[in-house]
């Protein structure tokens, strides 16, 4: 059934959206949007390193993203710069370094646009396996660290005082972020990964009345964005990655209009999945 390139694109996109939603919730709750951006910019350096060292691209992107996370943690403890300045420094240094390294390797003919904006229509069977395999691992691990990670998001001191280990949860979270960036780069490209992490979550916030439910809603809204975006890009012959992000944005704008208030009027009752569907 995966022989059709469009089917493969749909399945790949849905896989990424299902993982990006729950993880993106923590990005939004912890105000780490710029951190997500930094990791995704660093992904291009990962691509360059993969070509240079002739290793697997997904693996290389994961390693570079993880290293950038660790570098950020270390710099935050030592440097006298604020976090956002450090993130900007790391993001653009990594991006520029990646582009320079790529330019040195004149023997490589590669589609830079494909990495920047994604190439979902060129998803191979192997890519599918990486996305769903990696995605499953991310979801399972996230479920395992959910409680300490969430408690540390609300109040790290309270979590630690009451016997949890916020540092370990934070570290695991950074590795999960690096994994998601590595597996979703092919779908939306390094410049738009953060959009998939944040926009569906922002839409879900309007309807959610609990953290776990918000994570589930964000995943569903992400899936909806991928499906509608892909069909739109097929219909109007637009680049698929950006079209998915535009679809996510359209859903977010819809959630701000009176149409959404039909859903949110029933306040106090936990929003159900059915309410997510009335969004259309």
């Amino acid at each position: 059934m995966f022989d059709d390139f469009f089917t493969r694109a749909l399945v790949a996109g849905i896989g990424v959206a299902l993982v990006a939603g729950p993880l993106g919730c923590f990005i939004v709750w912890r105000r780490l949007a710029y951190f997500g951006d930094t990791l995704s910019h660093a992904a291009l350096l990962g691509v360059a390193m993969a070509f240079l060292l002739e290793v697997d691209i997904t693996l290389s992107v994961f390693v570079v993203s993880a290293l950038v996370s660790v570098a950020l943690l270390l710099l935050q403890q030592r440097a006298s710069l604020s976090s956002d300045a450090l993130l900007g420094l790391l993001a653009h240094s990594a991006l520029a370094l990646g582009l320079v390294v790529l330019a040195f390797m004149t023997w490589i003919r590669m589609d830079l646009m494909g990495f920047l904006f994604g190439d979902i229509l060129a998803v191979s069977h192997r890519d599918l396996a990486v996305i769903w395999g990696g995605g499953t691992i991310v979801i399972v691990v996230l479920a395992m660290v959910w409680q300490p990670l969430f408690a540390a998001t609300v109040n790290p001191d309270m979590a630690e005082a009451e016997g949890m280990n916020p540092d370990r949860a934070n570290f695991v979270f950074m590795l999960l972020m690096a994994t998601v960036i590595a597996i979703s780069m092919k779908i939306v490209g390094v410049l738009l990964i953060t959009a998939m992490l944040i926009i569906p979550v922002a839409t879900a916030r309007t309807f959610a009345s609990g953290p776990e439910q918000m994570a589930g809603l964000a995943a569903l809204i992400g899936v909806l964005s991928v499906v509608s975006g892909l069909f739109a890009s097929l219909e109007w012959d637009t680049p698929s990655g950006p079209t998915i992000v535009v679809a996510a944005m359209a859903l977010f704008i819809l959630s701000l209009t009176p149409i959404a208030s039909l859903v949110t009027r029933r306040r106090g009752e936990p929003a159900t999945l059915g309410e997510g569907r009335t969004l259309q």
């Binding site: 105000r31 998001t153 609300v154 309270m158 009451e162 953290p211």
Partner: protein, 280 residues
């Protein structure tokens, strides 16, 4: 219930240094089950820092902090900010760092008078309601040690009396040790077994004086409050000058005030030398 007299937590000569300055130094204290210890002191005197050493959130740079194995802690931090992006109901918040039994959760919410707020969003609570929810959450864990950092902030006078009554009740019901931080230098909870006055070091400690029998206080506080509140009379042998230096009883001035600087003895005070020796 724990009723042995091994301390739940003990600090000996504990101190925290930041950028060359001692936030607190030479703190000795121990809390046994069923004991209420109140830390008082001006702003920036190291009350919260001391509590964080006791909780294990800060590692003392000097001295030692020991906690009993398997200690169950309930912590009410001074400030808990809930990001608006986080959908969090009171019910979910009650289960933030553990899985307390629903009976314990219900009982704690009943006792603190927030049973009707279960489905409310934490962000929409008033300051007083949120303080009571924080207390209920810590209480539902059935802790061995309860650490309350300014639990009556943002609560009006009659609410303060009710909270103090409740804290005494919690101690009686759970038999737990309680470390409470208060910004009020003179009026403390009557159920307090021991008051420790901090200002970068332990300035003095002792028991509060009950005021229920005093007609003057009855007029000032109201008859119900006099049973709950008590007055603490300080026994300082030194004065903290505005620039941070310390003037000792013998008239000498030093930059700091340490147990070993030879000007006074923190461990025991001499009631003959000090005025107002009606403490204890």
């Amino acid at each position: 219930m724990l009723h042995n007299t091994d301390p739940l937590v003990s600090l000996s000569g504990a101190g925290i240094q930041r950028d060359g300055n001692w936030l607190v130094r030479g703190v000795n204290l121990a809390i046994v089950p069923g004991e209420i210890v109140t830390l008082i002191g001006p702003n920036g005197s190291g009350k919260s820092t001391t509590a964080k050493i006791a909780l294990g959130l800060l590692k003392p740079d000097e001295g030692r902090a020991a906690r009993r194995d398997g200690l169950v802690v309930g912590y009410v931090p001074q400030k808990v900010l809930i990001d608006w992006t986080l959908p969090l109901s009171v019910d979910r918040f009650m289960r933030l760092t553990g899985r307390p039994g629903s009976h314990d959760v219900e009982a704690a919410m009943q006792a603190t008078g927030v049973a009707h707020l279960g489905r409310a969003e934490v962000r929409t609570l008033s300051g007083g309601e949120f303080q009571r929810v924080l207390l209920a959450r810590a209480m539902a864990r059935r802790p061995d040690l309860l650490v309350l950092d300014e639990p009556v902030q943002g609560v009006d006078f009659s609410g303060e009396i009710a909270l103090y009554d409740l804290i005494g009740q919690i101690r009686d019901d759970l038999g737990c040790g309680i470390m409470m931080i208060s910004h009020d230098l003179h009026v403390v909870m009557a159920a307090t077994d021991r008051v420790i006055c901090l200002n970068g070091h332990v300035c003095c400690e002792g028991s509060p004086k009950t005021v229920a029998s005093s007609e003057e206080y009855r007029r000032l506080f109201g008859s119900r409050a006099t049973a709950t509140l008590a007055v603490y009379q300080h026994q300082h042998d030194h004065t903290h000058l505005p620039d941070g230096r310390v003037r000792h009883a013998d008239g000498t001035i030093t930059d700091h005030c340490h147990p070993d600087d030879g000007h006074h003895d923190h461990a025991a005070y001499d009631p003959v030398r000090t005025e107002g020796d009606d403490v204890r």
